[in-house]
């Protein structure tokens, strides 16, 4: 036989609670208890409201560029819910919901986008890495963090989030290859939201699924409905178990949609049709979860109203706290560079202040 098939692959897709309200009780059994589901819904609502507020803050000049998370809340939240609190969460910048569930304060995220590095001064107790702006680079850090756990014989694993665009970056492929070949306990979660700013998924990946990119590295892969909290939880649980017990990576493609612009500096109307956005608005993870809760008699409009008041109070208080933090001392610029400040940097710090003072004095003397 000169030619024979040496590999055939299949990719499974998991959907538990679909956009029409159909719920797969067998797959969803025991995954998320009712009380938790209510809390998870509230967490998504809170994150969504923060997005609205952040947008207005940016438009009114009270915050810098901000990337809205709208539409993508389910994936990172499900991961944070399913993982142990001491598993690494290695995210990019559209995973607020998961980070808040983990305990990262809302004002930290706000502070970061308000142009203050102290927003990224994550407490080490949260096992969450700082917001990663360059695309795709954080997956290698996840592999390294997971490697350190394995090296020390700890049970801690690493779960990393990235977009479909990031799977075009070389670092994604290096991270997948390292994790697979060195047996590192990593859960790769690709939030396929179809758009990398204006670049459509078809320019990132010509294969029928992003999920199969994991197959190339010998990882088991799943595609899930990324707006389905249950399906995301199911997949992360599956991958986390494999990471924890076998010290091996897995790849999950969460199919979702970026309902907002890429950031407040972007205008998505330039490159995509409103009709497409409208389709995805019907698949919104919040809407779906709320309908499911209502169906189960766990939610109603008066609960919704009461929650919206709570959420507004919570978010407004976080904004107030973030805005009340004054700019860091200028010396921080230098003092945060090294454990021990090199002499030539100390000289720059000290003379910069002298020069500033000198020019202020000169300006005053000239009557400005």
């Amino acid at each position: 036989m000169p030619r024979k098939t040496v590999l055939k692959v299949e990719i499974e897709r998991v959907s538990i609670l679909d956009e029409h309200g159909n719920y797969d009780a067998a797959l969803g059994d025991g995954l998320i208890p009712d009380a938790d589901l209510v809390r998870l819904y509230e967490a998504m609502a809170s994150c969504r409201y923060l997005d609205e507020v952040a947008f207005k803050l940016q438009r009114s000049g009270r915050m810098g560029t901000y990337p809205q998370n709208m539409g993508q809340e389910a994936g990172s939240l499900a991961a944070a819910y399913v993982l142990d609190n001491e598993d690494w969460l290695v995210t990019c910048y559209r995973e607020n919901c998961g980070l808040f569930w983990r305990g990262v304060p809302m004002e930290s995220i706000l502070l970061h986008w308000m142009g203050d590095e102290r927003g990224n001064a994550m407490s080490r107790a949260h096992f969450a890495t700082p917001i990663a702006v360059p695309i795709g680079t954080q997956m290698l850090h996840a592999a390294g963090l997971a490697w350190a756990s394995k090296y020390r014989g700890e049970k801690r694993i690493a779960c990393t989030f990235f977009g479909d665009g990031a799977t075009s970056e070389g670092d994604f492929h290096e991270a997948a290859n390292f994790a697979a070949n060195l047996d590192l306990p990593v859960v790769f979660c690709c939030q396929n939201n179809f758009w990398a700013i204006s670049t459509p998924g078809s320019i990132q990946c010509s294969a029928p699924t992003v999920a199969q990119r994991g197959i190339a590295y010998g990882m088991p892969c799943l595609q899930v409905d990324g707006n389905d909290l249950f399906a995301c939880a199911y997949a992360v649980k599956w991958a986390a178990a494999r990471a924890r017990t076998e010290s091996k990576p897995s790849f999950i493609e969460m199919v979702t949609y970026r309902l907002g612009d890429h950031t407040t500096a972007d205008d998505a109307r330039r490159y995509r049709d409103q009709a497409e956005v409208d389709v995805w608005k019907e698949r919104d993870p919040l809407l779906r979860t709320r309908r499911h809760l209502e169906q189960k008699k766990l939610w109603n409009s008066s609960k919704e109203e009461a929650m919206q008041v709570r959420v507004k109070t919570e978010v407004d208080a976080a904004v107030k706290r973030a805005e009340e933090i004054p700019a860091p001392p200028v010396a921080d610029l230098f003092n945060s560079m090294y454990a021990e400040l090199p002499a030539q940097l100390a000289y720059q710090r000290d003379t910069m202040q002298t020069h500033s003072l000198a020019s202020e004095t000169a300006a005053k003397a000239e009557g400005h």
Partner: protein, 322 residues
């Protein structure tokens, strides 16, 4: 005391730090079973096992990116990038993350990482195996850049680099790897990062260099009739400006020698610093003897590119006669 070359001195430093500190792990291409292409890590995988001396996939960004994760988790990774010219693929991880993590997180996360890189020309190597990119990384805030020129210094500086709480790029001059041996104590010692060495004292001219060029400078000093003070920087960033200043104020003349290209080389920074600090003491403009603003040539012309004793002597004469 043992009589060691630079390769053996680094090997010994790695052994001693690994024995002392379980957080130190080595990773890179061909460093395990093969002992590295220059044999710097020879025997270490056999000694410490595959858990601590790890052969990685062939991917420089992957090596540095995973090292950053290892370091953020509290380990002390010592990755090897096989050749200077292969730092390119790792540039993003080094400059966008290793260098920035401390300040980005205001110290919540740090990257205590030592990146070992064979550097420079003069060994008849192929393209991209002979470059001197120290200025690029010295221009990147958040990194420290070290380049020893002797086995003794290499051991003491590598120990300091591994223990340093910030990322260090540790350049190992290939031309010196097996050029000579010297007495290297078995006992633990460190050489502080950021401290230059006065190789020989003199009164008429200050000659400043680092890495393999120090050897050519020593030759020039021996042949010269003038009283020359030779400074081996040992660390490129942070610069030991006090040692430079004290010397140039004494001699009034300064020549800087490096393999890397002329424009925006570290020599330019030293010349500017000398002008700012020693202007009224200078008897002549600072001279630079460097590689050219050309691509590092293939090996048939590499000796025409690299500063040699004759070019250095010419610059010394020019500065002295000014």
């Amino acid at each position: 005391m043992a009589n060691l070359n630079l390769v053996q001195a680094i090997n010994l430093a790695l052994i001693q730090e690994m024995e002392k500190d379980d957080r130190v792990i080595l990773l890179g291409e061909d460093i395990g079973l093969n002992g590295g292409v220059f044999r710097v890590t020879d025997g270490l995988q056999k000694r410490f096992g595959e858990r601590r001396v790890v052969d990685t996939p062939l991917a420089e960004s992957g090596i540095i990116g995973t090292s950053i994760g290892l370091a953020m988790a509290g380990l002390r990774p010592v990755p090897e990038i096989q050749f200077d010219g292969f730092l390119g693929p790792a540039y993003d991880q080094i400059c966008s993350h290793a260098a920035r993590m401390r300040t980005r997180t205001r110290g919540a996360y740090t990257v205590p990482l030592t990146i070992r890189v064979p550097v420079g020309g003069g060994i008849h190597a192929p393209e991209l195996h002979s470059d001197s990119p120290e200025a690029i990384y010295s221009h990147t805030p958040g990194l420290k850049v070290v380049m020893p020129s002797s086995p003794y210094d290499a051991k003491g500086l590598l120990v300091s680099a591994i223990r340093d709480p910030d990322p260090v790029i540790f350049f190992e001059p290939k031309r010196v790897y097996r050029a000579f041996r010297e007495e290297v104590p078995e006992d633990e010692y460190t050489i502080p990062i950021g401290k230059a060495r006065v190789v020989c004292e003199g009164t008429e001219l200050t000659l400043i260099s680092w890495g393999a060029s120090v050897i050519q400078c020593m030759e020039s000093v021996e042949k010269s009739s003038k009283s020359i003070e030779l400074i081996d920087l040992r660390t490129i960033y942070p610069l030991d400006l006090d040692t430079i200043e004290a010397s140039v104020k004494k001699t009034g003349r300064c020549v800087v020698v490096h393999e890397a290209p002329f424009t925006c080389g570290v020599g330019a920074e030293i010349a500017a610093q000398v002008m700012e600090r020693c202007f009224l003491h200078l008897e002549a403009p600072v001279q630079r003897v460097t590689g050219f603003d050309t691509i590092m040539p293939y090996y048939k012309l590499e000796l025409n590119y690299l500063p040699d004793a004759a070019r250095i002597a010419g610059a010394i004469d020019d500065a002295a006669a000014y």
